[in-house]
Symmetry: none
Subunit: 228 residues, 2 copies
DNA sequence: ACTCACACGTGAATC
DNA sequence: TGATTCACGTGTGAG
């Protein structure tokens, strides 16, 4: 939850939406500047009407706002990729990110040494992405059974999903499940090469079979290979 | 390089330094200017005369300074652990850190998959099978897709077997595979409750599809539920 | 000149 | 209560 109930500024990532008129008006009203329609009020010179002064203006107000928004957005994104966040704070986010990076680097090192000690074929320990890319499925491969829904009795099912690994895919599957009020009792995922197999044990309360078929089709659409 | 030639405060957060008193006085002298920014105006004395207002209010001035220092220090540390920094900027530092974390995670995943393909060991992992016998399948449950054979191209297949756990079953499956000259490249088995799902990555040299169908039927006969 | 990035002090909100 | 975090607007250098 955002600590400040502030008007959500444009930081929506890629979109170049530049609309912050409301905030501008608010600031203007605070500076006894009751401009009704316009919000431009951006000139390089003071225009003090005779009488009271106190014309505060800044050249780079918008730029600074954008900068803050970008930086904040990056911190948010950083918090997204770090698994264990101790506190919802900028400082903790950075600390956790540092720890996570160190841990990942250690893990990579350890896996590399383990892989080097493996008494197998030496050609596969390239340590690069090349070996897995040589294993992409052929064009004519027919994927039967990418998504399977096996009833186990009462309202419980086994849901098996076989997919090619892509970023963000797993999140989409989870969102689809939650949108159907599916409770995940247990989950196992195994991966090898570029593929992954997930094995859910789910429970749905009071749903008919037709709804489950619908869910199955939705999942199939999510995990299907995008147009070879 | 520090952009600001400021007097080095106790940035590390820990120890209290005596310089804070001077800084307080300095801040007092700056008070009626609103904006912080300029600090090179070294006038020296402050000493507000009693007639003037100059209510020097600084509730959490040094606390905020410490917070900024800590946060900045964290960004610096983050920049230290990320190898390739594109620009010396906070925003770029965060972006590069995010990219680096993603890259490291992908690398870990890939190394793990490579490590999982170590030949020789094919051991069965047993989960906590004792949790619930209350989860036995009902009588009328129809098991579709107990055994699946998914071609991956050339002579490689994915073999998925879903079964109810029984003693000796896994050995029978392995024997069947070996009798068909099937090489097991990788194997994962996950278990939960009374069920198990095995996921073979196999390679068969020079076999036609009809033989594979035969093998599939054999496996289905092995793992099928034995006639209640 | 002008843009960008930064640090600063402060009010407000949350714990 | 106060301690802590955050967003804000502004001043100021570097490129």
């Amino acid at each position: 939850m955002p600590r400040r109930p502030r008007a959500a500024r444009g930081g929506g990532g890629g979109g170049g939406t530049a609309e912050e008129v409301k905030m501008e008006d608010f600031v203007e009203s605070m500076l006894n500047f009751g401009g009704g329609g316009g919000d431009e009020s951006e000139d390089g010179e003071q225009l003090p009407p005779p009488g009271e002064a106190t014309e505060y203006k800044s050249k780079n107000l918008d730029a600074e706002r954008r900068r803050r928004s970008r930086l904040n957005n990056n911190i948010l994104a950083l918090r997204a990729v770090v698994p264990n966040i101790t506190k919802m704070s900028k400082e903790s986010t950075l600390s956790d990110a540092i720890d996570h990076i160190k841990k990942l680097q250690n893990e990579v090192l350890e896996l590399q040494t383990q892989l080097a000690d493996s008494p197998g074929e030496a050609r596969e320990k390239q340590g690069s992405a090349s070996c897995s890319e040589s294993f992409v499925p052929a064009d004519n491969v027919h994927y039967q059974g990418q998504v399977e829904l096996i009833p186990l009795g009462s309202c419980k099912y086994n849901l098996k999903i076989f997919w090619t690994k892509r970023v963000g895919l797993f999140t989409k599957v989870l969102e689809a499940l939650y949108s159907y009020n599916v409770q995940v009792l247990s989950l196992n995922t195994i991966t090898f090469y570029g593929y992954a197999e997930s094995f859910f044990s789910i429970e749905v309360k009071g749903e008919q079979d037709v709804v489950m078929v619908e869910l199955r089709n939705l999942l199939s659409g999510i995990v299907e290979v995008p147009s070879i």
